[in-house]
């Protein structure tokens, strides 16, 4: 009798052509994230061995591509062995007099001598003999003993939901702008959920932002990596750009010019890391720079596809998601951020592309971008250690 964890994937099972590659990626991600755990690829699910620690289950609930997991006991496909496993699991749940239960069997190995309903009845009978306090009930029982009979048999009582989505790495790579705020980490999470491997890019502007604000972004990446796997954080100096914009660009166009420059830097980083899209935390209409016109003018600065996964969400939805992801409490830390120095008093809310381009005429944009890239620093935050190991 060996404790294992069953991992089910849904969506990727349907994509016939790429299926093998998707499953292999999920298995790879799990091996990376679960040191010491053995991952076996079965026909329509994965079996993890050496994986009973609570932190393993927690991580599985944060691994995209996982639809559900079950801690199970693996035994020989024989009635006595299945009964022994079921007894262990039921005993763990400490049934009281009147606790309702049922057994539900899936017989994938059709050579097994009994049919599924026959196994249900036989195991149910044996459990009742061992635990007289139990009461059989077919509809909504408190204890649901499930048995999968394959080349081996798996007995389990719990089905824990995973986050769904697609395994990170199956959807290509994108460079994602990451500020210290609430939105951009959520945007990264959203694309990671669709299988995209994100490379976060942070613009660091000392002395207008502090070492602590950089530290905060590193912590955000650490939290995100619990979902997305390890990521390299690119930190690019930006103070010289802000200074140049403030000195040479008409005040109402500061923001759009700054964002356009960020897109250009991001495009260059994308070339370096082999990414084919950019990701931002922009949504529509939250602030003046997020009108359709402003987003169009910003997006026009790059030829790359710009993904804005939060575009249809409102602030409450974003905040709720950030709380679920775990980035919210880091994002709201009150470290000083002097970016307000570069926020115009009366921003142009609907800048045309032509205006944006004219505003840049007095800037040597190419040189500013080069200088930013020359100062780039790549940080690989340590993968968070599993708790309790």
């Amino acid at each position: 009798m060996e404790p294992v964890v069953l991992v089910r994937y849904g969506e990727i099972g349907l994509k016939r052509a790429n299926r093998a590659a998707f499953v292999a990626q999920l298995a790879r991600n799990l091996r990376d994230r679960l040191p010491g755990v053995r991952v076996e690829n079965r026909f329509d699910h994965l079996v993890l061995r050496g994986a009973h620690a609570p932190w393993v289950l927690e991580r599985l609930q944060r691994t995209f591509g996982v639809v559900s997991t079950s801690p199970a006991l693996e035994v020989a496909p024989e009635l006595d062995a299945m009964e022994a496993a079921a007894q262990v699991l039921v005993a763990e749940l400490a049934p009281r007099p009147g606790t309702t239960f049922k057994v539900e069997t899936h017989r994938r190995d059709k050579t097994f001598p009994l049919t599924s309903p026959e196994v249900d009845r036989e195991l149910g009978r044996r459990l009742l003999a061992r635990f007289p306090e139990l009461v059989a009930r077919m509809k909504d029982p408190e204890v649901h003993v499930r048995v999968d009979i394959r080349d081996r048999a798996y007995v389990y009582t719990r089905v824990l939901p995973g986050p769904g989505g697609l395994p990170v790495g199956t959807g290509g790579r994108a460079v994602a702008l990451l500020s210290g705020g609430i939105d951009s980490p959520v945007a990264i999470w959203m694309v990671a959920k669709r299988g995209v491997q994100a490379t976060p890019l942070h613009f660091h502007a000392p002395p207008f932002t502090s070492e602590r604000s950089k530290e905060k972004v590193v912590r955000l990446v650490e939290v995100l990596s619990e979902w997305c796997g390890p990521m390299d954080l690119w930190v690019v100096p930006f103070a010289h750009v802000q200074r140049a914009i403030r000195e040479r660009v008409p005040e109402p166009l500061w923001t759009v010019t700054m964002r356009r420059t960020m897109m250009r830097v991001a495009e260059r980083v994308a070339q370096r890391v082999g990414a084919s899209a950019l990701v931002t935390g922009e949504s529509l209409g939250q602030v003046a720079s997020q009108t359709l016109e402003a987003l169009a003018a910003i997006g026009a600065a790059t030829r790359l596809l710009v993904l804005r996964p939060l575009v249809g969400m409102d602030k409450l939805e974003i905040t709720g998601l950030a709380q679920r992801i775990g980035t919210y409490e880091v994002s709201v830390l009150p470290y000083e951020d002097c970016c307000t120095l570069f926020v115009p008093r009366h921003p142009r809310t609907r800048p045309s592309l032509q205006e944006a381009e004219e505003a840049e005429a007095s800037l040597d944009v190419a040189a500013l971008v080069e200088e930013a890239l020359a100062g780039a620093e790549v940080i690989s935050p340590a993968a968070p250690a599993p708790a309790g190991t």
Binding site: P206, P207, F208, R212, R243, E247, E336, L341
Partner: protein, 388 residues
């Protein structure tokens, strides 16, 4: 890059003899001073010897020293401990106290205690005339900092003591006088008896001592309610096993200052004057610390560059290897204007643009010149942010 640490008033690097003393106790003294056996006695001796050192430096009796976890706890003990020990207390604190006095005072007010805040003049001194008007027959406590932690001004505590004598003459009862001497201790010579203070707060880590240890001087005969219950340590005023390594380190720091203090104070005075002179020709810079040597601590200088946020200047100086702070370190993560400067009548803009430089035993003349040069560079560089 050269590193010039001018933030000693936030906390100071531990002196070598402090490190040695802490280490010595950690390695060799394992007993609890309260234990009955010989190892307990050994620990008690270290505790009492340290208490004597601190008492001597305050001009106090060892029985008047209560060790705490630092200045914040000592200030809380002084304010809450006094108020809780009295029926209907009235409390007066200056408007620019450290937040570990201000917040307890505000809390008392929320709890229904009568609390008044004494105003401060534009130079950074508590207005004794206004304070006198706030005193009542049932005033239980007056708390005035000895050296303000942000601007370094030396407060007229002895004068306040005289006001309290008047209260006694008029109404027959003298309010207790508390002074927070965390920034003053060892930097400005004083004796508790000469100040005629009943309660004095001191802390180790502004003197090159360890963090997490301080003390409250409690004059004989003063009644206080403890904050921490659970043992009769510190004459019942502070339950809990004392932080013996920290306390031994505190004593070591005090011995250092007894030996070197006079020379260092003169040195700080000279270096401060030098720094002021070096920066004198920079335009757009306002000193928040008055130049009067008799009325300021020698090691603290505070200035504002209106229009330039303090934290931007802090980070720009950091790029040159010069470490200073905005206001006091305890608040500097909040982008709030300094309550000290607001109390002094500065505008909000001036109050968010202040930086504090504070010197310590390791500060040299080259450090000061280097810092002045860094300042010049930073201001030039950031001039574009300052509306002209």
């Amino acid at each position: 890059m050269r590193r010039v640490y001018l933030d000693h008033s936030a906390t100071s690097p531990a002196l070598p003899e402090v490190v040695a003393a802490v280490r010595e106790v950690l390695e060799r003294i394992h007993g609890n001073p309260a234990s009955l056996h010989g190892m307990g006695l050994e620990a008690e001796r270290v505790l009492e010897r340290s208490r004597q050192v601190l008492a001597a430096s305050l001009g106090a009796d060892p029985s008047e020293v209560v060790f705490t976890s630092g200045g914040t706890e000592a200030n809380n003990l002084a304010v809450f401990g006094t108020a809780w020990a009295r029926q209907r207390p009235h409390v007066v604190v200056s408007a620019f106290e450290h937040s570990s006095v201000l917040e307890p005072a505000r809390r008392l007010r929320e709890m229904g205690v009568e609390v008044d805040f004494a105003p401060v003049d534009p130079e950074g001194f508590v207005r004794t005339d206004a304070l006198a008007d706030l005193l009542r027959p049932h005033t239980a406590l007056v708390s005035v900092v000895l050296v303000n932690n942000e601007v370094g001004t030396l407060q007229p505590v002895a004068e306040v003591a005289k006001l309290l004598d008047d209260v006694q003459t008029r109404w027959g009862r003298r309010p207790l006088l508390h002074t927070d001497a965390v920034q003053a201790f060892c930097h400005v010579p004083f004796r508790a008896r000469d100040l005629r203070a009943d309660l004095v707060t001191v802390s180790a880590h502004k003197l090159g001592g360890p963090k997490g240890v301080g003390a409250l001087y409690v004059r004989k005969g003063v009644r206080l309610q403890p904050l921490l219950l659970g043992g009769d340590q510190e004459r019942g005023l502070r339950g809990g096993t004392p932080n013996l390594p920290g306390i031994a380190g505190f004593a070591a720091a005090i011995r250092f200052w007894e030996r070197e203090g006079e020379r260092l104070r003169a040195c700080f005075r000279e270096l401060s004057a030098r720094l002021r002179a070096e920066l004198a020709d920079l335009s757009g810079l306002h000193w928040n610390t008055p130049p009067d040597a008799r009325r300021t601590a020698p090691h603290i200088l505070n200035l504002s560059v209106p229009g330039l946020r303090g934290e931007v200047l802090v980070h720009r100086l950091e790029q040159e290897g010069v470490y200073v702070s905005t206001g006091s370190a305890c608040h500097s993560r909040r982008a709030h204007p300094s309550h000290v400067l607001l109390a002094m009548g500065r505008t909000e803009q001036e109050a968010i643009s202040a930086v504090r430089l504070s010197l310590g035993p390791d500060t040299t003349e080259e450090d000061v010149l280097y810092a002045a040069e860094a300042f010049r560079l930073a201001l030039q560089d950031l001039r574009f942010l300052v509306p002209s």
